[in-house]
Each structure stands twice: as C-alpha cells, then as structure tokens.
C-alpha cells in the first residue's frame, strides 16, 4: 500500500470539502468519512448503485471513482435535492408511491433519476427502466420506483410550464 497522502478539495453539495487521502481512497469512503453517510455502501464493487452521486452533471458510482478523480469537481448527494421541509419532486414522488421501503437503495436511485431528468426531462418508461437498470433494489420489485420517476417527471414539467 502506498503511504503517500494527497491533498484535495471536492465541492460536495456546493461546499468545499478538504482532505488528505491515499491514492486508492474511493470517493465513496471519502464522502462517508466526511459525514455524507447518505451515500450508501452496498457492495463497494460497482454492482449495486447505492453509492450513486452526481458528478459534473452525470450519475457516477462513488465506489468506483477515486477521491482524487473528484478533485476540484462538483459532487451532489441526495441531500442536495430538497430540504427537510421541502422535498424535491422526485423525493415527493418516491414517498407518495411508496417507492421507498427499507430505504437503503433510495439515495442512489434518486440521484440516478435526477441525472436522468436533468438530461431528459420527459423520459419514456423504457428510458426510465434503462437509466435505473444499474441500481439494485431488493425490496420493491421496481414497480413503484418506475411509477414514482414517471410521476415526478410530469410534476417537474408542470411546474416549469407554469413558470
């Protein structure tokens, strides 16, 4: 194991987070060690998608990204979406449709869905299924998750039309 430490700054949810890491430190461990525990570790292997964050506008698996790869970049976790009082429409839809059961996979699904809607505001059902096919959920059988993302897309569209 290389013992050299590298200084870095990552902009997490629009705040500068500084640290010193070994080269092999994953972005997932870096975030969790800095109390962003909403980013979940389900496998550490790129298999489950629970650790998904948005980096520079795209969904990224933080377990398969080194912290150094995120140096100087903008990273968003599920806590960037809404506030305690006001949830993001995606979060509202996940709650309303009961797409959240144990909830461990939800932060990852929400960030994958957010990246999808940012790039494709009115996706078809097949596009939704494609986009979230890298995220695993063991509780819901995926039915409600698809419903929720579809509903959220319509809700966001409606708000933007009114505005």
């Amino acid at each position: 194991m290389e013992n050299q430490l590298y200084e870095l700054t990552v902009y997490v949810n629009d705040k500068a987070v500084r640290g010193k890491v070994r080269a092999e430190k994953t972005l997932l461990d870096f975030l969790r060690e800095h109390n962003f525990t909403e980013v979940k570790k389900g496998c550490d292997n790129g298999d489950c998608g629970a650790c998904t964050v948005i980096m520079d506008g795209l969904a990224a698996l933080s377990c398969s990204t080194t912290a150094l790869q995120a140096e100087g970049r903008r990273v968003y976790t599920v806590k960037s979406l809404g506030s305690w009082e006001k949830l993001h429409p995606l979060q509202e839809a996940f709650v309303k449709h009961e797409a959240v059961q144990c909830g461990f996979c939800s932060p990852g699904f929400l960030m994958t869905a957010k990246a999808l809607l940012d790039n494709n505001p009115m996706p078809s059902r097949n596009e939704i299924r494609d986009a979230i096919s890298g995220n695993l959920c063991r509780c819901t059988g995926y039915v409600k998750i698809v419903d929720a993302i579809e509903d959220a897309a319509s809700a966001i569209e409606e708000v933007s039309r009114e505005a």
């Binding site: 909403e38 979940k40 389900g42 949830l87 009961e98 144990c102 461990f104």
Partner: protein
C-alpha cells in the same frame, strides 16, 4: 366482509418515507462516535481446518486490539432465540479454533482507522491444520471422523453427532400405508430448491459503545432487539439491564436478522476488550459467507382418489444446513406444517434430516420453508390434475385447507383454527383476469417464442401464535400513551423492515381513537425502555405486533374514558369518540346529551392538571391464533426456445390479508415478494467450488445474479386483487401479508413455463441452459 373505517384501507404515505428519501435516515453502518475504533473480522480461507496457533504480535505493533478463540468465553449457544430452549440445538461459540466454512471467524482486530484495521488483519499469522471438507450432503453423510461438529447441545443435554447429521424430525398423522392403498393415482417426484441469498442492500453491520455504568449500547442490523440483548447477556455474562440494544433502521433483512448475526457478538467482544466504541461494517463478500436461505431436497409422494380427493402423502427431506444450526429443528417442523396445511390429507408422514456441510450456515429467508414446500406441493397438484383429468383450479378448491379447519403452518406445535378464507374468490378472479381458460397451451404453439400461463397458491401464517404454548415464542409488548395535546405515542420494540409494520400499528391505534394518522407517533425504542418482543418475522408484524398495539390502545382508551367520564360528569360506557374533519379534533361526547362534549386533548390536559394522571397503558400481548394469509399468483411468461430465456409478461396477484391497512404498501409487498420469488425460480443460487470451498460468485452481487428491472413486468402488467375478507381475531380484521407474498411465486413461474413448453421442472432455479437441455431432450427436468 369489510367494515367501514375512517383511516384504514386508505393510502397514507409512511411516516419514515421522508427521512429515507431525503437521506437523513441513519443505518448502523452510518453511525459514528468519538474515539471509535474500526473492526475487521479474521476469517478462515479453508472450508474445514483447525488452528494450531495464532500470532497477533505484528497486529499489536500497529496498535490493534485483538480478540480470538484464546480469550473467548467458550459457551455454546444458538444465534436464534425464537424457539424455546428445549427445542434449541446449540453448536455456536464466540470464536473457535475449529473452522467449518470458508469465511468462518476465529478472531477480530480493531484499530483507529479502517485502513489500519485492514492492515492489522492482514499481518495476523495463523498456523493451520487442514481437515477434509464435506461440500455435499453425500460426502458429509459418509463421513465417520473429522466431523464438522463432534458434539452439540440440545438445551443443556450433550448430543454426539454421527455422520454429520445435525438433527432429524418425524411427523406422522394417520396411516400412510393404508392411505396409499386407497389411492387410484400416485405421483412421486424429487424436488430441489436453491440456496438463495438474502442480498439485503446493507451488509450486516454493528456498532457497540461501552457506557460509563459498565454496560454497553448496541446498534445492530437485526430484526430482534430483545433476543440480541438476551444472547449478548448470556454469552458475555452481562446483566441484561447493562445491555441496551437499540432499534435502528436496517437496510433490508428478509430473514437474515431473525438470528443475531455473528458480527454483533464480535463487535461486542472488541468493544468490551478495548473499552471504546467499535464499528464493524462487513463487506458484501463477508455478508455472502454469513447467511443464506435453507435449500431443500425432498421426495414427495401423494396419492389421490379418482374424484380428486387426496388420501395420503409422504415427504422425505434432506436439508443441507451448512456448518451450523440456526434452529434447523424448527425448519424441519415448518416444512411438515406448510405441507400439511396446504391440502387436507388424513394420512401423512414427514421425515426430515438436517445435514451439516462445510458451507454457509442456512437461516430463515422470506417464507421460511413455505416457498420450498409450496414449489413441490403445487407442482404435484398440477401433475395429479393432469393424471386425473381434473381442472387444476378445481382440484385445489376441492382439497385446500380453509374456513373452519385447523392448520399448523408453523409446525406441529402451532395448531390453530381458520376463521377467514378468501381462497376461492381469489382463484376465480385471478383466473378470469389473466385469461387462464383461454390459454393456448404448449401443444398448439410452434415457433421461437412460446407463451404460457400458470398459477400457484399458498399461504403464510400470521405469526406463530396458537391457543396453547408450543416450541415457538410469540408475543409483543406495547405501551400506548395519550399526550396532553391529544396526540398519541406508541412505544414498542416491534420492528419495521420497510413493509410498513409500525405504520400499520399507528394506523390501527389512530382508528381506535378516531384521531388522524399524523397525531399518532412511534417512539424510538431500545431494550431498556420496552418489554419483550419476539421479533418481526413469520409475517407477524401486522397481526401480532400491530394487533398487540390495538389491544393495548383499547386499555389506554379505558383509562382516558374514566377521566373523560369524570370531566363530563357521565359514565364511561356512554361516551363516544368521533373525528371532526373540519376542526381536526377528536371529540368525546355523551350519547343523548349533545351539549356534554369535549376533546381528547382537553381531557388529557385536565387529567394532568387535576393530578388524575396520564392516560397510559403497557402490556404484553400474545395472539392465540395465526390465521393463514392466503396468496395466489397467475403468471404469463414467454419462453425463447432458442436461448432458453424466460420473460415474465404479466402477473395477477391475489392476496387475502383480511382488512387491508394501507393498500399501496400491501401492493408493494406483493410486487417485492413476487420479484424475489421469481428470482428463486429463474436465477438465484449460491454454488461452491468443491476444491476450495469458496462461493463461485466470489462475493459479487452481479455474479450472484438477481432479476433486474428489465426482467420485471411493466407496472401496468402487474395486477393486485385483495380478497373481501375480515379476520375476526385480527386487529380490525387484518392478518399478515409479507411472506405470503413470496411463497407461491416460484411455483407459479414454474407452472407457467410448463404451460408454454410442456416441460415440468422440479429443480430450481430454472436456468436458460436447463431449458435448452430439456428442450433438446424433450422431457421433464
């Protein structure tokens, strides 16, 4: 018949939903305490070995705290404390020098950082004596020496193990020889079901913090906080009031937390030795070596008369339980029970043998023994129907155990009568909705893609309560309190795993008091502040757990009624509760005297100011029945005869859960139950490299293989039908749903494949290559 309710039967977003969607929910792996150490578990690379010596000196040089079998308490125990002691085999120790599977634990280290702990674990030196490994039941049963366990304890009685047989169980009713003589048709088949892995998203983890009073606080991934407390107390000789186990949300369980996971005991050992908080988060690979569903291999012989009456049945089962008992005796019991309670059979014999192998220890997973047994029993019913030329649905209706009969799904010591039954309604509606009688069948189809419609039915018990005590513990303690502003708090150790168990309790209490759902809260709970709850398993959450909350709420209401009667100068029996939607207040009024009216809040506040007291009550409640929650699935599949790939096109689920508390959550149980059940049918298994004893998936979730979103039908093609039933012994007519949602799914998918291609599979999972082989050979597999 359904009753009219104010809140039940309507959709309310669950209370925990917001915290889980906005990332604020904390799971055990998320906790951090000052001065905390990180632990790593030391594991065997060999499937069967003995440790001659351990050298921790290099690890200690790195500052690691180390524990091993050398400073272990040595006591034998069972990780699962659901059965009573006389039915509990004990073969576990906290650290042993005898390694019984790859990944078996012999010690642990803790250090200041994750990296340092990892480094310390790597420099521990071990001298091994490698023993012959038994990677199959045949090999294990043939063994005379170097057994996986030489001796175990049944309660406190020492038992010598022979041929690696962990335990056996025989259950007999009637006389099968006489029964089979009456049979016109006999079907005898060998069935086999896989070692399915729970694959809950959060690997089993734990945090333990020593406290100033000499006690410890424990945050485990568990379904059973009280049993965890009792086990820790017993293993470490700690008084139970010094072991506080906290109920914390887990990232999925599916049965993997009914027993106390070894990681909980190991973290405790490190915390006690270091006198510092310790956290261990297992890797996915470690988790895969930690727990797995009981596989089952059995020969099922069933005889029937020409008219379709079943007359006799014989099941001989061999269960590869892996290297430890997690109450395998109970598993053998429920196999007999689930079988016996699906269809009426006067003469039956069950013979079960649990065999140790050098594999991952097996434990409960959603459905326990029911999916395994239902797979063979429903397959057999289809075969009998074919031989007898009777419609498969009619054959079920003729023989199923239903209304007015006694059943014992959870084994022969848990017998209880059936008071509600929606089976016929659900079978008829399901068949009609999917077009069961319009299916083309395998004979009429040619071409690459063939479609088939199949079905299966099953049930799960709502808990394990029964009129008399048996081998299983089953009760829940609840406290219900009315606050001085009219809101209500429920305090109980009952757990929710994501299905909405605690929400159901809150909703039922809201209904009882006629207060809005958002005025009923679930208090944080730990073992110091709550009475015993056996755990959330066996589909007991709503019926037993929320049922207990309902019984206690009625007692609390009695206290409130006394206060209200004094306040209004009336008699308690003349008071009625009503919810006024406009004001959002719940009124208490005297009948016939409309001017005599007040609110819950006013009474509670007045009672406090007058020093009458708080409207509060606490009690342990045992349910004295465990009604069957019936389920059936009708499934349409398409089989690609060139690749063997099976696509699930459509699902019609039928669920008899009694009063449905929260329809959207109940539907979610069926979606998820079907998904995992179809996975068991089509994909999921854990296999081993016989030479190394390692899992062939190498700890990867992708290589374990589960159905993904692409293999699930579109939301529009998944229909759910609820039966119009009311369970008179249940809380406001409700019974369970959770495991019932899984149980018939593997059998239903198998039946649909048979309808499509004319081949009946008797071994799960049915992989594409199995389908291609069977199509090539043109016969059943």
């Amino acid at each position: 018949m359904k009753k009219e309710f104010q809140f039940l039967g309507k959709d309310f977003p669950r209370k925990e939903g917001r915290a889980r969607a906005n990332g604020f929910e904390k799971y055990p792996s998320d906790l951090y305490f000052d001065n905390m150490l990180y632990g790593r578990i030391l594991r065997s690379p060999y499937p069967h070995a003995r440790i001659k010596s351990i050298d921790f000196s290099e690890a200690e040089k790195l500052g690691a705290v180390c524990v091993s079998y050398e400073d272990a308490p040595g006591k034998r125990f069972n990780l699962r404390l659901v059965s009573v002691p006389k039915a509990t085999y004990k073969d576990w120790q906290l650290f042993s020098d005898h390694m019984r599977q790859v990944g078996d634990f012999f010690g642990a280290v803790a250090a200041e950082t994750e990296e340092l702990a990892e480094q310390a674990a790597r420099v521990v030196k071990v001298e091994w004596e490698i023993l012959p490994a038994y990677m199959s039941m045949d090999a294990a049963l043939a063994a005379k020496d170097n057994l996986i366990h030489d001796k175990v304890f049944l309660e406190d009685q020492e038992i010598k193990i022979k041929n690696n047989i962990a335990c056996t169980r025989e259950v007999v009713e009637g006389d099968i020889e006489a029964g089979f003589q009456e049979a016109d048709v006999i079907v005898e088949t060998e069935f086999e079901t896989p070692r399915q892995y729970h694959c809950q998203l959060e690997p089993r983890s734990c945090v333990v913090r020593p406290e100033a009073d000499g006690g410890i606080t424990v945050w485990p991934t568990t379904q059973a906080v009280h049993n965890t407390r009792i086990l820790i107390g017993s293993v470490f000789n700690l008084p139970l009031n010094k072991v506080n186990v906290v109920r914390i949300t887990g990232g999925g369980h599916f049965g993997s937390g009914i027993h106390t996971n070894p990681v909980t005991l190991i973290t405790t050992a490190l915390a006690l030795k270091s006198k510092r908080p310790v956290k261990i988060v297992q890797s996915r690979e470690e988790d895969m070596y930690d727990h797995v569903r009981y596989p089952s291999k059995y020969v099922l012989k069933v005889g029937a008369r020409k008219d379709g009456t079943l007359v006799a049945g014989h099941m001989r089962a061999y269960i590869d339980i892996g290297c430890h008992h997690i109450q395998a005796l109970a598993y053998l019991g429920v196999m007999s029970g689930f079988w016996h309670s699906l269809y009426r059979m006067e003469n039956m014999k069950y013979e079960g043998t649990a065999v140790y192998t050098n594999k991952v220890p097996t434990c409960a997973m959603q459905g326990y023994g029911a999916p395994q047994v239902t797979f063979g029993v429903e397959g057999t019913m289809d075969m009998l129907a074919e031989k007898l030329e009777i419609d498969p649905i009619q054959l079920r209706i003729k023989n199923y155990v239903g209304l007015g009969e006694v059943f014992w799904g959870q084994g022969p010591t848990v017998k209880s009568p059936i008071f509600s039954d929606g089976v016929v309604e659900l079978l008829k509606k399901g068949a009609e909705s999917i077009g069961y009688y319009k299916r083309p069948g395998s004979q009429k189809q040619t071409g690459r893609y063939r479609r088939g419609i199949g079905f299966a039915r099953g049930f799960h018990t709502s808990g394990t309560g029964a009129p008399v005590p048996g081998e299983v513990k089953d009760y829940t303690t609840v406290q219900v309190k009315v606050n001085e502003d009219g809101t209500i708090d429920i305090l109980t150790a009952l757990m929710d795993h994501g299905g909405g168990t605690l929400d159901a309790a809150a909703k039922i209490v809201a209904e009882e008091f006629q207060v809005p759902f958002d005025k009923v809260g679930i208090s944080p709970a730990d073992t110091r502040s709550t009475g015993y709850d056996v755990c959330t398993h066996a589909t007991r959450g709503v019926y037993c757990g929320a049922g207990a909350a309902h019984e206690v709420a009625k007692k609390t209401k009695d206290v409130l009624l006394e206060y209200a009667a004094r306040y209004l100068d009336a008699y308690p029996d003349s008071l009625i509760f009503s919810y006024d939607e406009k004001s959002g207040q719940t009124r208490i009024s005297v009948w016939g005297n409309p001017e005599k009216t007040t609110t819950i809040a006013a009474v509670a506040e007045h009672a406090m100011n007058k020093d009458w007291g708080t409207a509060i009550y606490s009690k342990s409640i045992r349910k004295v029945a465990c009604p069957p929650a019936y389920t059936n699935y009708f499934v349409e599949v398409e089989v690609d005869t060139e690749t063997g790939h099976v696509k699930i096109l459509r699902v019609v689920a039928g669920s008899d859960a009694g009063t449905v508390i929260n329809p959207i959550l109940a539907k979610g149980q069926l979606h998820g139950g079907f998904y995992r059940g179809a996975g068991m049918a089509l994909l999921e298994n854990t296999s081993y490299d016989d030479k190394t004893g390692c899992l062939t998936n190498k700890g990867s979730m992708i290589d374990y293989k589960m159905l993904g979103i692409d293999e699930m039908p579109d939301p529009d093609d998944f229909e759910v039908i609820f039966a119009d039933t009311y369970e008179p012994t249940g809380p406001m007519g409700a019974k369970g749903i959770g495991e019932a949602a899984f149980n018939p799914a593997p059998a239903a998918v198998t039946s649909a494949i048979c309808d499509a291609i004319g081949i009946r599979f008797t071994k799960l999972p049915i992989l594409p290559e199995d389908i291609m082989d069977a199509l090539g050979e043109g016969h059943d597999k």
